[in-house]
């Protein structure tokens, strides 16, 4: 707990600075104060928690799930076959230069206001870190260990299961920790662009009503959700991987 004190102090200081500035500006539709935002969050708790948070979480979870599956599939197949690596790796990297937010409106055109246009944006933002990080993990096995297994008569499959998979596991957790905040951002952006519910959509609606605190309230909720999720994953990671520093 003690190690978190400096960060908490900085956060508190920044919040106080913000509070001071907001009170000075005294125009909540431009710069709402943290206290106003919290109050608004409380006032809006029913629609936020019963309608919009579940909607966004649905998009995030679905997008993340598909991203993990797709990312792992790409990573494993590129590791398995050099031809596939040569064919896919540059394409995957290039796909990241596409400004997702700029083409996201197209997805709304193609897939409508339903959940899939949002899931697609989320996938586009998160499959990359998963595919590349896990791929690096699979490629990062020690050559000597691989050779040792070969002298024991290991097959390609044995090497994958007994060496590559465990070696890549820490990378997998890093990838997930990177992807969770990205997936929340992706879902929120997609909802901003066109949706009927969700935290991003709600935030945009408050904007049109010049409700500054109402814009921020769902954003606070989004960050909290991302932080809590990353926290939970970190706890799981520590239980699963006790040997991270030894490779």
């Amino acid at each position: 707990m003690k190690k978190h004190i400096p960060a908490a102090m900085v956060t508190l200081f920044l919040l106080m600075l913000w509070q001071g500035a907001a009170m000075g500006v005294n125009a909540a539709y431009i710069l709402p104060s943290p206290v106003q935002i919290l109050r608004r969050l409380w006032e809006l708790r029913v629609p936020l928690f019963t309608v919009h948070l579940p909607a966004t979480m649905g998009v995030t979870a679905l997008g993340l799930l598909i991203s993990v599956a797709l990312g792992l599939l790409l990573a494993v197949s590129m590791d398995w076959n050099e031809g596939l690596e040569k064919a896919l790796y540059p394409v995957i990297v290039a796909s990241q230069t596409i400004p997702t937010t700029a083409i996201a409106p197209l997805f709304i055109l193609w897939f409508g206001y339903g959940i899939w246009s949002k899931v697609l944006v989320t996938i586009l933002m998160t499959f990359f870190p998963i595919a590349i990080t896990v791929f690096d993990g699979l490629k990062g096995t020690k050559r000597e260990m691989e050779e040792l297994l070969l002298t024991y008569g290991a097959t390609k499959k044995d090497i994958f299961l007994k060496l590559k998979l465990p070696t890549a596991l820490p990378h997998f957790f890093s990838a997930i920790k990177m992807s969770v905040p990205l997936s929340v951002i992706g879902a929120a952006i997609a909802e901003w662009l066109g949706a009927q519910k969700g935290l991003g959509y709600f935030s945009k609606r408050m904007m049109t009503q010049l409700d500054g605190a109402g814009v921020f309230a769902p954003v606070v909720l989004l960050s909290l959700v991302a932080m809590v999720t990353v926290g939970i994953i970190t706890v799981i990671e520590k239980r699963v991987i006790r040997w991270r520093k030894e490779l």
């Binding site: 020690k142 000597e144 297994l149 002298t151 008569g153 290991a154 007994k162 991987i241 040997w243």
Partner: protein, 250 residues
Amino acid sequence: MLEFRNISFRYTQDESPMMENLSFLVEAGAFVSVIGASGCGKSTIFRLINGLETPDTGEILVDGKPISALKQYSAFMPQKDLLFPWRSIEKNICLPMELQGVPMAEQTRRCQQVLEQVGLSGYGKKYPKDLSGGMKQRVAFARTLLSGADMLLLDEPFSALDYLTRVEMQEWLLHQWESTGKTILFITHDVEEAVFLSKTIFVIQERPFSAMEQVEVPLGYPRNRSDLKRQEVVELKEQLIGRLRKGVNL
């Protein structure tokens, strides 16, 4: 036990070959050390035996049969212990048996037995990070033993240990060799280690080499450290060091 017949080998990225027309013979149950300056091809001999490299010409025979027709004829123990940090000691030791599809109950039985043999019973559930360097080498040795081969290839297994641990491990290894009856090929650049452990020493002097000088150590078994002070042993050591230094270009 092991025979090299006219082996020539060159790494594809190298200009000159490592060895040319090399032939030698190792008898079953022997303790043979291979010494030579670094980069002379000691480890390459092991890589050829365990099939990680294929000779350009010639044949390697184990018990009269070409190695391409054999399985599990040799067990390799590298310089670093290379224990998998995510596996418990037990699971590390069982790794070669796991790959060979040995039944679980048999794995557990042999594992307990070998842990006792290497003096580490009670450590099975621990992880590599909980063990000292010497203990880890003993675990690595146990793993090598349980691969089931009669010929052990030990590539500078003690070179990363501190002096006192190394001395202990050498005596321990001799004891293991005497009790298991395995054939041991041992690579080292430490002349004293080679003299203390082996019956026969192969010396690599130049590169490419077509023969290794074969030196018999004038000591019987069991031996102890004070034997190293004997006149003929001291002379042998000096002689070997002198020969190796000729091959060193600073």
